[in-house]
């Protein structure tokens, strides 16, 4: 033993040869040559130099053989070996022992049959990787372990040499190498080898034998035919493609690279096996089925390649590409495992392909799942073509609605990545109000042209198509509202509160982490988050508007001034304005009116109002058309600027002006009638002395009271049925409002209902015209009655003067009147009395006109659909005075009742 120390490997090898064969040095020359060649040809080990791994393998092997006690013993020995530290290459020795180990339970009878094989194999080994007969331990290893262990060996010469070898068929056998044992004779002589081959054939499904000798296939099993099988196998290799080569090709095709035989056919857009290659149909089919993977891979790859450079594809698109890439990477990992497996086989030789080698069928099974995944990806890619942003997320989400749990998991994973940027946008938006959406992917759009005054209404909008389908419309609206509120606070209200203080639940939760959770649990956490942000932000906004910008006070001011709620002020204003307003509209000056307005404010309770509100109150003159008096063009105005203009928009103010105009007119009628009544009361006593007038005056009184009744009822209707009701509704809504939109909406509803009930909308134009004509007749009546009183009073004064003069003369002792004077007086009286019938007829005409208008108005009211208007008609005609006169009214009343009954 000591003598062998430090000897060269050759000497050692020779003694080993002698030792094992038990022959002299001369006799083992051939074996020794072989041994030297083998050792020299593959000097670099293909296995990893890891002692631990080897020892683990040994233990596993022992456990496999159910020798637990031996395994324990081995680890004990191994530890001892490690402590001694004599050996430098412990792993190597262990590996050797492992390689040589044999299962003691197995019968070792087959050992004797290998001689011929050894003889055959030698020539091959002369220029290729060593040829091992069996190495069960490496083949029996687990899949993952092997792949891990063998990746290190990628890149050795195995592939190329083997590839050439198998493709060109076996190289001509050098006859000289093994004297006296030519391959043919060896094959013919070794029946056991034949049977072994026959046994392996069905497993590895060697194409050559199956093709050239189809009739042999069912009979492959029996050893009797084995010699022919071996022959066909060796001969058939020349013209055809072996399965191993196809497997190698397929592995390339999996990555979208053309193989030797399987190429991408451009016109058919699929991978096809070269038609010149002779191949069995089943293999061809299997190949085409496997090649689908390559096509799918190409599709996904093309998409990601095209998109990853496209900046305009946006963040969502980028993350979609990233997700696809991730999936592809998984796929590549699998391919590399397969590759390394192939490599191991290459290095071990061809015939080893027994239980664990790569075959097309095995690939078909192994690649089943990846194919399904790739198919899903390809379908996704197809479906997502041309979509971006939220739309893309919707598309992916749509694919997640499947019953297949694996596919769903895949899509869910992609979706969580894809929706990540969207959620990022979303959180930025609802917590900071910032829109960092360079590529227009988010479902909130901003219009940079919109100025601050229309910010709330126009600046931000929802991009309907970009709302991901996992976010409901309601949520999207809330999200829009939250960010809009924040922006509104910042830009319009100039509120500089840091966003974190507005929302109590700020960004404590990270977007990336919970993206997936949120998607799966949209009802819970996500909804809550949005709700919380919505609630806090809106509340804060309303607080700011109410506290700093007196929104509610302004609302009330609108009601008090523009809707004539502040009675004393309006009355006083009218008193003061009356002399101004009767003048033609062209002679009015705004500054005079403004002065009067201020006087009115100072003189009434309005003075106690907030200065902020009074400051905004102003006079406005409408456009003047010819013949207008001041009454027609006068209007109160209320300046709205800053944040409150969001609620009181220009449209709203237009509505307010219209309503004010109507109310002002109605008020003026009331005011006019008051004057009329005052005149009647004052003059009644005076004119008692003129009995000839009593008829005309009676007519006046009747008409005036009719008008008063009408206007009272109208005013009652406007005040209580319209203004107060609507106001109450508005106030309730405003008190309960959760966000500014609610207030705006409530306010708009308020204005709309006022407009429509005040007959200002398009539907009731005829009603309004009728009402206008009634109002006109009231004015006309006032004019006529005024002229009556004027002439009557003139006459009266003249008569009184006449009487007085008479008395004076009599007191002076003269004749009271001369005949001439008397005649003159009589004539004058006569003239006056002559005008009376004219006046009476004038009144009659006026009355008829008026009553006609009212009847017409009532008819229109009856047909109106608004209930409150129908009630108004009852109230106006409470004693059926007009109904008695107007047959149409009767008819329509009847039909109305009938209809209502039928409705009930």
């Amino acid at each position: 033993m000591a003598t062998l120390d430090q000897k060269s490997p050759n000497v050692l090898l020779q003694s080993l040869c002698c030792r094992i064969t038990g022959k002299s040095e001369a006799e083992v020359a051939h074996q020794f040559q072989y041994a030297v060649r083998v050792i020299g040809s593959n000097y670099a080990p293909t296995i990893e130099r890891d002692e631990f791994l080897v020892s683990e393998k040994i233990k596993k092997e022992m456990l496999r053989q159910r020798r637990e006690a031996d395994a324990a013993l081995f680890s004990e020995l191994h530890r001892k070996l490690q402590t001694q530290g004599i050996l430098k290459h412990r792993w190597s020795v262990l590996y050797l022992l492992l390689s040589l180990s044999e299962d003691p339970r197995k019968p070792s009878g087959r050992v004797g049959n290998y001689g011929a094989l050894f003889a055959q194999a030698l020539p091959r080994d002369a220029h290729s990787t060593p040829f091992y007969c069996t190495r069960p331990q490496s083949l029996a290893l687990g899949y993952g372990e092997r792949s891990g262990a063998l990746t290190a060996s990628i890149g050795t010469s195995g592939i190329s040499s083997m590839g050439v070898y198998t493709l060109n068929g076996p190289t001509p056998t050098p006859q000289s190498l093994l004297a006296g044992q030519p391959p043919q004779s060896a094959a013919a002589a070794s029946q056991p080898l034949g049977s072994r081959l026959a046994w392996t054939l069905p497993m590895s499904s060697t194409p050559s034998s199956a093709l050239t000798l189809p009739t042999m296939r069912p009979a492959l099993g029996p050893p009797a035919l084995s010699t022919r099988v071996v022959r066909t196998r060796r001969d058939g290799d020349t013209g055809e493609v072996s399965e191993a080569a196809l497997v190698r090709d397929i592995l390339y095709v999996f990555q979208g690279i053309d193989g030797k035989f399987i190429k991408l056919s451009a016109q058919e857009n699929c991978y096809k096996i070269d038609s010149k290659v002779v191949l069995h149909k089943s293999l061809r089919d299997t190949c085409s089925r496997l090649a689908e993977l390559g096509w799918l891979h190409n599709k996904v790859m093309k998409f990601t390649d095209a998109r990853s450079v496209d900046r305009a594809f946006g963040l969502v698109g980028q993350s979609f590409c990233a997700a696809l890439h991730q999936e592809l990477k998984e796929y590549y990992r699998l391919l590399s495992v397969l590759h390394s497996q192939l490599q191991v086989e290459d290095e071990q030789g061809v015939i080893v392909c027994t239980e664990n080698s790569l075959t097309l069928r095995r690939l078909l099974v192994w690649m089943y799942d990846p194919r399904v995944r790739l198919k899903t990806l390809a379908a996704l890619v197809d479906y997502c073509q041309g979509r971006k942003g939220g739309e893309l997320a919707s598309a992916v989400h749509a694919y997640g609605k499947t019953g297949d749990p694996q596919m769903r998991a895949l899509v869910q994973h992609i979706l969580s990545l894809v929706s990540n940027p969207i959620l990022n946008f979303l959180y930025r938006w609802i917590y900071d109000g910032e829109l960092e959406d360079t590529y227009h992917e988010f479902f909130v759009a901003s219009d940079p042209n919109v100025k601050a005054d229309r910010l709330w209404h126009d600046k931000y909008s929802l991009r309907k198509c970009m709302i991901p389908s996992f976010i409901t419309m309601d949520q999207a609206r809330k999200v829009l509202l939250i960010g809009k509120s924040i922006n509104f606070l910042h830009q319009v209200c100039h509120d500089r509160t840091p966003p974190g203080k507005i929302t109590a639940a700020s960004q404590s939760a990270d977007t990336t982490k919970d993206a997936a959770e949120l998607l799966s649990d949209l009802e819970g956490a996500f909804q809550e988050k949005i709700d919380a942000a919505y609630f806090d932000t809106s509340k804060y906004l309303l607080d700011v508007l109410n506290r700093n910008y007196l929104l509610l006070e302004h609302l009330q001011a609108m009601r008090r001034y523009l809707l004539l709620g502040q009675g004393d002020f309006i009355r006083h204003l009218m008193d003061l304005l009356k002399p101004e307003l009767v003048r033609p509209a062209t002679t009015l000056y705004q500054h005079n009116l403004t002065g009067i307005l201020e006087t009115a404010v100072r003189a009434t309770n309005a003075q106690f109002d907030n200065a902020e509100i009074l400051k905004r109150l102003d006079v406005r003159l409408l456009e003047v058309s010819s013949g207008d008096t001041g009454w027609d063009v006068f209007s109160l105005d209320y300046h709205v600027e800053g944040p409150i203009a969001t609620v009181f928009t220009r449209d709203c103010m237009g509505h307010y002006l219209r309503v004010f105009n109507f109310l002002w007119r109605a008020k003026r009628m009331e005011y006019t009638l008051t004057d009329i009544w005052k005149g009647q009361m004052c003059n009644a006593k005076l004119l008692k002395t003129m009995p000839e007038l009593s008829g005309a005056l009676h007519q006046c009184h009747i008409l005036a009271s009719e008008m008063v009744h009408f206007i009272h009822q109208m005013q009652y209707y406007i005040t209580f049925e319209v203004l107060e009701c609507c106001w109450d509704e508005l106030w309730n809504k405003v008190q309960q409002a959760q966000d500014l939109d609610h207030i705006i909406a409530a306010h708009e509803v308020f204005l709309d209902s006022i407009i429509s009930r005040c007959l200002l909308d398009n539907n009731s134009r005829s009603l309004l015209n009728q009402l206008r004509s009634i109002f006109d007749q009231i004015i006309e009546f006032q004019r006529v009655q005024d002229s009556l009183y004027r002439s009557a009073l003139e006459e009266l004064t003249l008569r009184l003067q006449y009487e007085e003069r008479k008395k004076q003369r009599e007191a002076e002792g003269q004749w009271g009147v001369t005949a001439e004077q008397e005649a003159e007086e009589k004539q004058r009286i006569q003239e006056f009395q002559d005008t009376i019938p004219k006046m009476r007829s004038q009144f009659r005409i006026l009355t008829d006109c008026y009553q006609g208008s009212v009847q017409q108005f009532l008819v229109l009211l009856m047909t109106s659909t608004d209930e409150s208007l129908r009630f108004l008609s009852f109230r106006l005609d409470f004693n059926e005075h007009y109904r008695a006169r107007e047959p149409r009214l009767r008819a329509s009343l009847g039909t109305n009742r009938g209809r209502r009954l039928s409705n009930i």
Binding site: M1, D5, K7, P9, L12, L13, S15, L16, C17, R19, I20, T21, G22, K23, V28, Q31, Y34, A35, V38, I39, S41, N42, Y43, A44, P45, T46, I58, M62, D70, L73, F74, L77, H78, K80, L81, Q84, I86, L87, H89, S92, V93, L94, Y95, L96, L97, S99, L100, S101, E102, P104, V111, G112, Y114, G115, A116, F118, P130, F131, Y132, C133
Partner: protein, 73 residues
């Protein structure tokens, strides 16, 4: 010096014992001398994969030789 060499020799012997035991456990069929040759080869950096292949082939060759001899006999 001598004692150190002696100790070294002892250690080598112990190691060989352990290896022999392992070899026996694994049922490699190597006797002490073959084993020691193999260990030496391995220590010189020979690829164990190749070596094991060689040993197997040698065994087979000798087996076949024996059988052929038997046949001829």
């Amino acid at each position: 010096m001598a004692s150190a060499a002696n100790a070294n020799l002892n250690a080598v012997r112990e190691t060989m014992d352990v290896l022999l035991e392992i070899s026996r456990l694994l049922n490699t069929g190597l006797d002490l001398e073959s084993l020691s040759i193999c260990v030496r080869l391995c220590e010189q950096g020979i690829n164990p994969e190749a070596l094991s292949a060689v040993i197997k082939e040698l065994r087979k060759a000798s087996e076949s030789l024996k059988t052929s001899e038997n046949c001829t006999n």
